[in-house]
């Protein structure tokens, strides 16, 4: 296997090496003209060109888009409307009731996302910590078990959504199991409550392995002698967890929570495939709202979608700054100790 792969790599590498050798001549000329530091620009150029055109530039003109109206796509063709899109998104008679808002769909999406974020992140953190604690014990075949929980992380959101749609559908595995056990089957994905619960459960299933890995790395960084000392003193396991493990794990856990928050705010793919946002709008989240308004619906409104995406981006920036602050505080603490 390795031999075949190596030979294949060799065959593939030959023309690449040839091309690289061909590039050397103009590169050398450029180096002679601009000096060593001039080469830095050459090395940076491809990445920064792509980066500038497809990340940085869109980011800047997104603000311009959010201040324009109409259905035209090309920015110069659009009419300036000032803050009208934001006013439309944010005007609400009563913020606790999306029906009283001018853009009720947006507020439904905001409320759904808020509820989702709270429950998903809380539950997932607990599951990740329990899993990591168990994987950190002296168990036989630890790397195998670690891989078990990691498996769904690699699956594509479409695959995840379809797997669970197949299990949760009317004649699916879950209902069959309930039926065999004597319970009444239920149509899970057309029930507002259960569809939402499924969205939370499935997204935890798909991502928990990733967070468990980070928590596990944190657990393994806790010095062993602390536990030995606690054992000497005859400390109860519960107390060891609350007094040693959790406080020392806290910095790591904060990173996990903020990372999970950032991901949960943008939840889209697997839920979209699982429920399509339904039934009704009960599992429609912010990213889906942006997608629907900007691209999928008949009444496209790019300006509105872009204003909504900037509001979401604002939340993400705040969360990321929190994450960076947490990371910096962890570092500073590490130095003091």
């Amino acid at each position: 296997m390795a031999g075949v792969l190596g030979r294949a790599a060799g065959v593939l590498a030959a023309p690449v090496a040839w091309a690289a050798a061909l590039v050397d001549r103009p590169m050398r000329a450029w180096q002679n003209a601009t000096g060593t530091n001039g080469m830095a620009a050459v090395f940076l150029a491809p990445n920064m060109l792509i980066f500038g055109v497809f990340v940085l530039f869109p980011l800047v003109i997104n603000i311009a888009y959010s201040m324009t109206g109409g259905t035209a796509l090309f920015l110069p063709d659009r009419t300036f409307v000032g803050a009208a899109q934001y006013e439309r998104l944010l005007s609400c008679a009563d913020y606790t009731d999306p029906k009283t808002c001018e853009e009720d769909q947006f507020w439904i999406a905001v409320r759904n996302t808020g509820v989702f974020v709270v429950f998903q992140v809380a539950l997932m953190t607990v599951v990740a910590v329990v899993t990591a604690l168990i994987l950190n014990r002296e168990i036989r075949g630890r790397s195998f078990w670690r891989a078990v929980f990691f498996f769904p992380v690699l699956l594509s959101p479409v695959v995840v959504g379809l797997i669970w749609r197949w299990i949760l559908q009317r004649d699916g595995l879950l209902n069959a199991a309930l039926f065999q056990l004597g319970f009444t089957p239920h149509v899970w994905l057309t029930d507002r409550f259960w569809a939402f619960a499924a969205a939370i459960g499935v997204s935890i299933w798909a991502h928990v392995g990733f967070y468990a890995l980070i928590v596990l790395a944190g657990l393994q960084a806790i010095p062993k002698d602390l536990y030995e000392a606690a054992e000497m003193d005859g400390t109860k396991p519960g107390r060891v967890f609350w007094r040693i493990t959790l406080p020392l794990l806290m910095p790591n856990l904060l990173v996990v929570i903020v990372l999970a928050l950032i991901r949960a705010v943008q939840i889209f793919d697997e839920v979209f495939v699982l429920t399509g946002g339904g039934p009704g709008t009960s599992t429609m989240f912010l990213t889906q709202y942006i997608y629907e308004v900007g691209f999928a619906s008949l009444l496209k409104n790019p300006g509105l979608a872009s204003a909504a995406s900037i509001l979401m981006g604002g939340v993400l920036v705040v969360l990321t700054l929190v994450q960076l602050a947490v990371a910096r505080r962890n570092e500073a603490k590490g130095k003091r100790q």
Partner: protein, 351 residues
């Protein structure tokens, strides 16, 4: 025998007894095993069932196919049924045709004699078998072969461009002192905060303006300048001693040769990890391809699957099989390269 096996399995280190935490550990692990692999295995099992079998409730665990028999005097193989006769005996008969609730059946051993049976008294005879048509038909009759090609193209090309451009940028950012270096770093860092979902509208308009709408290049280009890739490679290159570069410069190596002949081979482990990540990312991408690709010929597997699964009358037998196909590369990565990914995540927290 079972006693010793049990003793072996249940033995504890240091000979201590079972604590409730040990029980909880194994319940959690075995439960996790079932919950994490079960759904995917159920998918694979279901993907080999025929449409009729998929409609059964409760579903069978394993895929079955109806047995058939070739009976002289009939061109096509006839489906076999287990029939309960009026005198109480059961026989295996082949069905010729069905009229209302009466089936005309024939014993394959005695093709001359036609038996009339009430359809309530017969059940299909079947054996474990795979409905492989679920896999071949979407490739032949639908566009899934094209989707597969598109997905492979996007994944391979995007990964190659990612490796080349990211490693070049990382080389510049780790081994050169130049004005504006920290500004560039800050710019890249800042975009870590901005996921694609925040710039969908302007990115879409740029892609359309440059004529990449409905083009696979429109899917590839916005994803290749990954900040995570640049950071990961830069961290790795910082550990390569500068003396190595200086020695090469003494020998009149050009900067490009230094990058190509010295830095890249030494960065191979980090490049391998980035390549694995990139393959998984690009293979799994969904939202952006969904927006950029609106013509069926350019769909990737993920978008194609979603489209077929979103139809009013979902043909689950094809969808399930194609979901399995979509899963295969990632499962291969999991089986052979999982270790690289898990250590990569534990080390840097990227995904």
């Amino acid at each position: 025998m079972t006693g010793t096996v049990g003793q072996f399995l249940l033995r504890r280190r240091g000979g201590r007894g079972w604590h409730w935490t040990d029980v909880f550990t194994w319940v959690w692990l075995v439960g996790g095993l079932v919950l994490m692999f079960g759904p995917a295995l159920w998918l694979v099992g279901s993907s080999f069932k025929s449409p009729a079998q998929l409609a059964e409730f409760p579903p069978t665990l394993l895929p079955y196919v109806s047995r058939t028999a070739v009976v002289p005097g009939h061109d096509k193989p006839l489906p076999l049924f287990v029939v309960k006769m009026e005198n109480g005996e059961t026989r295996e008969l082949a069905e010729i045709r069905r009229i209302g609730i009466v089936a005309q059946m024939v014993d394959p051993a005695k093709p001359g004699e036609i038996v009339r049976v009430n359809i309530q008294n017969r059940t299909p005879a079947r054996e474990i078998g795979l409905a492989t048509g679920n896999y071949t038909e979407p490739f032949v009759h639908f566009d899934f072969l094209r989707y597969l090609q598109n997905s492979v193209f996007v994944t391979v090309v995007a990964t190659l461009i990612t490796l080349v451009t990211n490693s070049m940028a990382a080389f510049a950012l780790s081994k050169y002192q130049f004005r504006g270096r920290s500004t560039v770093m800050l710019l890249i860092l800042a975009t870590l905060m901005v996921p694609l979902s925040v710039i969908l509208v302007p990115l879409y308009s740029i892609i359309s303006t440059v004529g990449l709408f409905n083009s696979l290049w429109g899917v590839i280009l916005p994803t290749v300048a990954t900040p995570t890739g640049v950071f990961m490679l830069r961290q790795y290159m910082l550990t390569i001693p500068d003396e190595l570069l200086d020695a090469a410069r003494m020998d009149k190596a050009s900067e490009w040769q230094i990058y190509w002949r010295i830095i890249l081979p030494l960065t191979a482990p980090a490049l391998a990890v980035l390549a694995i990540f990139s393959v998984v990312w690009r293979w799994n991408d969904f939202l952006w391809p969904l927006i950029v690709l609106s013509r069926k010929e350019v769909y990737t597997l993920q978008v194609g699957l979603n489209t077929y699964a979103g139809e009013l009358n979902v043909q689950w037998h094809y969808i399930l099989a194609m979901t399995v196909v979509t899963m295969i590369p990632v499962v291969l990565v999991f089986v052979f390269l999982q270790r690289f990914i898990t250590t990569g995540i534990a080390g840097s927290g990227l995904k």
